[in-house]
Symmetry: C2
Subunit: 311 residues, 2 copies
């Protein structure tokens, strides 16, 4: 099986839930011991932050690997710390792969021509070196931005799909200002529906055995009405659903992004990885058992989503 949608669908089924864990570390929110250990080794430096992120992420992946089908590291939080941060990002993706957790690189890349090819190779394909080869960031899928047009998305398909990789196109995002452009009406329908048509056209010839294409869609749980409409319009796309928990989306909202209980993964970042700072997990586990707290929070989210999907 070398088709992204089939792999993701199988992983969700095998693990019995559609939870995606957002690996979005923040140095000041890490357990004090991890901060202190890293600073002891590398001082107050980007390298210390990178080291701490990696220690934190590995512990989380160790605790979550048998439970969650997919994780989504947000590259911005690593990019903030320059080349050292990017090294930690790279190793996080590799570690997730080694632990059997699929990875969605949340990088929202978008550019033209040979530049799009470079991004596709960076995240989905592997680099090309005359007489040699290698892998950039070996994720299973990449989030991409459609503003520059359909021709800017094609390279991800050309390079990624044959490689068993996928993309998630931003369609309707979860933030308050997502309507500024996405909701504008053109030709009698909002821009996000035009993007949905683009998603369908791109994915059409690539459907896997699961019935889904490797061209997924980002649709926020914070706009349930639009999510319901978009679910109808993109029947062959897996939805990546942000906005659950901290941003206000509920399990019932997220459930609208599914089709017969399948076809979507729902992301939570802070609500899982920093569960140890929030009750009831804070009092139950404390700081040193942050990974167990994350697991308990992920279990609770899985139960809530599964209950909403049965309802």
């Amino acid at each position: 099986m070398n088709h992204f949608a089939d792999k993701l669908t199988a992983a969700v089924k095998a693990k019995g839930n559609p939870v995606c864990v957002g690996l979005d570390p923040r140095f000041d929110l890490l357990p004090k011991e991890i901060q202190a250990d890293a600073e002891k080794k590398f001082g107050k430096s980007p390298r210390a932050v990178a080291e701490a992120y990696l220690v934190f992420n590995k512990a989380l992946l160790d605790a979550l690997a048998d439970l969650v089908p997919v994780c989504k590291p947000q590259i911005a939080f690593y990019e903030e710390f320059g080349a050292d941060g990017i090294r930690a990002y790279d190793e996080t993706v590799r570690y997730a792969r080694a632990k059997g957790v699929l990875t969605i690189s949340d990088a929202k890349r978008g550019d033209i021509g040979s530049t799009a090819v470079a991004y596709a190779r960076a995240h989905l394909g592997g680099m090309e070196i005359t007489g040699g080869s290698g892998v950039g960031f070996d994720a299973d899928a990449l989030t991409v931005n459609p503003y520059m047009g359909k021709d800017t998305l094609q390279p991800y398909l050309d390079i990624g799909v044959t490689n068993g990789k996928g993309i998630f196109v931003l369609v309707k995002t979860s933030n308050p200002g997502s309507g500024d452009l996405q909701d504008l009406e053109a030709g009698g329908r909002p821009i996000y529906e035009h993007v949905a048509e683009m998603v369908n056209a791109l994915g059409a010839k690539h459907r896997g055995a699961s019935g889904y294409s490797p061209v997924g869609a980002v649709v926020g749980a914070t706009y349930p009405q639009q999510a319901r409409a978009l679910r109808e319009k993109m029947p062959e796309s897996i939805f990546l659903v942000p906005g659950y928990g901290a941003q206000g989306g509920t399990a019932q909202d997220a459930a609208l992004c599914f089709r017969n209980g399948a076809g979507a993964v729902v992301n939570s970042s802070r609500g899982i990885i920093f569960a140890y700072k929030q009750d009831p997990y804070a009092s139950r586990f404390g700081e040193s058992r942050f990974a167990e707290a994350a697991r308990a929070a992920a279990e609770k989210m899985a139960e809530e989503l599964n209950a909403a999907l049965k309802a």
Copy 2:
């Protein structure tokens, strides 16, 4: 003077031309000697590519620093080679700064809330470490994607502007498919005009002594009619103009992005950095004098643009 638009305007004036050099290396297009030296040190590896890119870029910047006001490394070409590539990107930006060349990080980032803050810190602000600090990628400006809405652009202003940095918002891009979304008509005007209004609103309170705001616009030279209209609509924005040369835009097309001979910089990547592979530069300089070839090509572009601006 700690205002990006003022710095860029002054640099263009001081160097007497609005040429922006795109530092977009490709391993197979580098001089054979640079390829071989890097492979001798690091084998056929990402590290070899990174080493070669840095040698190439430094030689270019040495040859061009007194001539060109600004350069634009496209981060995708570095990201392709993972963390090693990103290290070369980082050092390229630092080297340009040391040589007195302004840098626009062409990364087209875009995301929400705390993620946008992380991108802004990564490229324009400096990271924050409890009790310490540091710099991510120390560029002067960043290209950003508006699809997710105005709230996703604000953090770049909050973090970058006080720091003397700027952004260039994608408005009308140079690629064939740029019209797919950007040209759709909503409320009687194309989406790119809605983005232009967003650019004006964001920049309004930040105008510098030059009359320009730190919120610039990416407007392709390949769509001269739209460029002319957008120049009227965004009088306070500096335009970053891609599409010159290899993509088909002429000096006359690019001139439409200026206002009284100012307010824009025009990018060329391959046409300058790989001039040594193209006649008349190939026969005049040969492979070993690639940096002189780049300088000659940049001089010619400067002359053509200045002539078109006088006409």
